[in-house]
């Protein structure tokens, strides 16, 4: 569990890994979408109250949102540092307040310099004080994190969100992460990194996902991944969990697909390639596939 009140329910946030031995650099540009009403003024004004009516949110959250719209509040950011086992370490305020066109860039090594905390294989949670006017659970732009060393560069951009996640008594129906990019070309080694987190700082559930390595539909090997504690993460090298991969994928030219699954919780899922020097050379978040089909 994290300390109580780590963030407010309306504050969009994202959890990301950091890696040892590289410069972990975070930047954010506030897009014009912060104060726009792309979905129409009526939708923008009605949506917070609609969510109260649907019991997805509270009057307090709706009030905060109208306050942001009325005063065009600037955004304030914080960075929370956790261990990979989900323990709170420290947090920093990002200096400044940000409106459309503003930006910040922070080298996490420099941020932590002079403190007793070092950035290695950790997790960070970046928290924004408000979201967009017309999509108030979302940030106006994507946060970029880059992992830069003498030999390599990798990174990703992803949004901050404040929607409920692994919260409440019911639990989530489950997580499925599909990676059809399993390949062992040019001395690349694929791995996946899963984060078990929640919109509720008091989240206390551990999970143990399974992973299947497919070479064709219906042909797979299944293994259990290790336990992931609450607010923690686990990176799994495909070669480590499937040492038989060279034989198993030989007939498919060393290409395959993995599917990681867990019941009762959803996870953040990242795909990586490492090179023979163990540098992270490519990384991105995975995408839920059901959203291509289910919805409005």
């Amino acid at each position: 569990m994290l300390p109580k009140g780590m963030w407010k329910a309306w504050e969009p946030r994202v959890i990301l890994p950091t890696f040892k031995g590289v410069d972990n650099i975070v930047d954010f540009s506030v897009q014009p979408s912060l104060n726009k009403a792309y979905q129409g003024i009526i939708y923008t004004l009605a949506y917070p109250l609609y969510n109260v009516f649907k019991k997805r949110s509270s009057i307090g959250i709706a009030f905060k949102h109208y306050q942001n719209i009325l005063f065009r509040s600037k955004i304030v950011f914080r960075i929370i540092l956790l261990s990979r086992s989900g323990e709170y370490i420290h947090q920093w305020n990002v200096p400044g307040k940000y409106s459309p066109g503003d930006y910040f860039r922070i080298d996490l090594q420099q941020l932590s310099a002079g403190s007793e905390y070092t950035i290695g294989d950790n997790l960070i949670i970046v928290v924004a004080s408000r979201g967009r006017n017309d999509s108030w659970m979302s940030s106006p732009g994507s946060l970029s994190i880059k992992y830069v060393s003498r030999n390599s560069i990798a990174g990703l951009r992803t949004g901050l969100f404040s929607r409920p996640l692994n919260e409440g008594g019911k639990g989530h129906f489950g997580f499925t992460g599909v990676n059809p990019k399993i390949m062992f070309k040019k001395e690349l080694e694929p791995s996946i990194l899963l984060i078990n987190h929640s919109s509720d700082p008091s989240y206390s559930r551990s999970v143990t996902p399974t992973i299947r390595l497919y070479r064709r539909p219906g042909e797979y090997i299944e293994k259990k991944l290790g336990e992931i504690p609450p607010n923690g993460a686990r990176e799994t090298r495909i070669l480590q969990v499937f040492p038989e991969v060279s034989d198993y994928l030989a007939e498919t030219n060393m290409t395959g697909c993995t599917i990681a699954q867990v019941k009762g919780a959803t996870l953040s899922s990242y795909h990586l390639f490492r090179n023979k020097n163990d540098d992270v050379v490519a990384m991105d978040h995975s995408r839920p596939s059901h959203t291509n089909i289910i919805g409005k």
Partner: protein, 254 residues
Amino acid sequence: MNLGTFIDTHKSHAISTQYCPVGDGRTSIICFYNFYERVFPDLNPDVDLHLVFLNNQGEEKAHITERIPGGGFVQLDASSYLDSNNGMVCIAAVPTCDIRELAPKGMSIKKILGTGFYIVWQNDNGYTDFMHEWMPINSIGSKNESYFVTIDKSKYIDRHELVLMNSCYSDTETRIAEPVIGIFNKKTTLFEFEAEPVAMMGVSVVDLHKNVPQLDQLLDKYEVLSVKVTSKYIFPPLTNEIHHSGDFHMHHID
């Protein structure tokens, strides 16, 4: 079948796009999993994966269809279909059965079905990056929009590029994007230029160092700069940071 006919034939599908460079030691590998199996495990339909490859001028170069069985996946090397170019790939996965008819009662199926995939970009030196699909083809058009991204001084990053994709298709008008790119420090404009027009369904790779001769000096002075891209018909661009080792990092802005 050309792109216009394909769009008309599959109006209930959003056609996802992505930057697809090949040649000069580069390749792009499209990785797709038939995700319909995740939602319809009993039905487990096959899909026809339609791919249209275009060059940087928006000219259609290849249109292929691969049947992907239920629960199947594929990795397709774009260099089999595109010559050396900085082009675009457009992809739609169309189930071979009527899923709206066959879906369980009460399941809310989207009016416009999406297609998710990944693309792995590689070069001959063994460097790689990857990304998920980017924006779907937009037939409605767009007004002038602005996007911001930061670039920073790093002892390891040699060059900064923007990848501008014009995925606003029309068969009744020619939609050419005319992007304006500005370099800012905390809202002060330091430099502004008009980038080369981007053909409809085309791609333009803008080398910021070539277009802004004093960019290295500006980065030395300010360490972090904001780049603003303003245009009709261009959706949030990709950035490409080229590491001095030859590695690169490409990703969407927003």
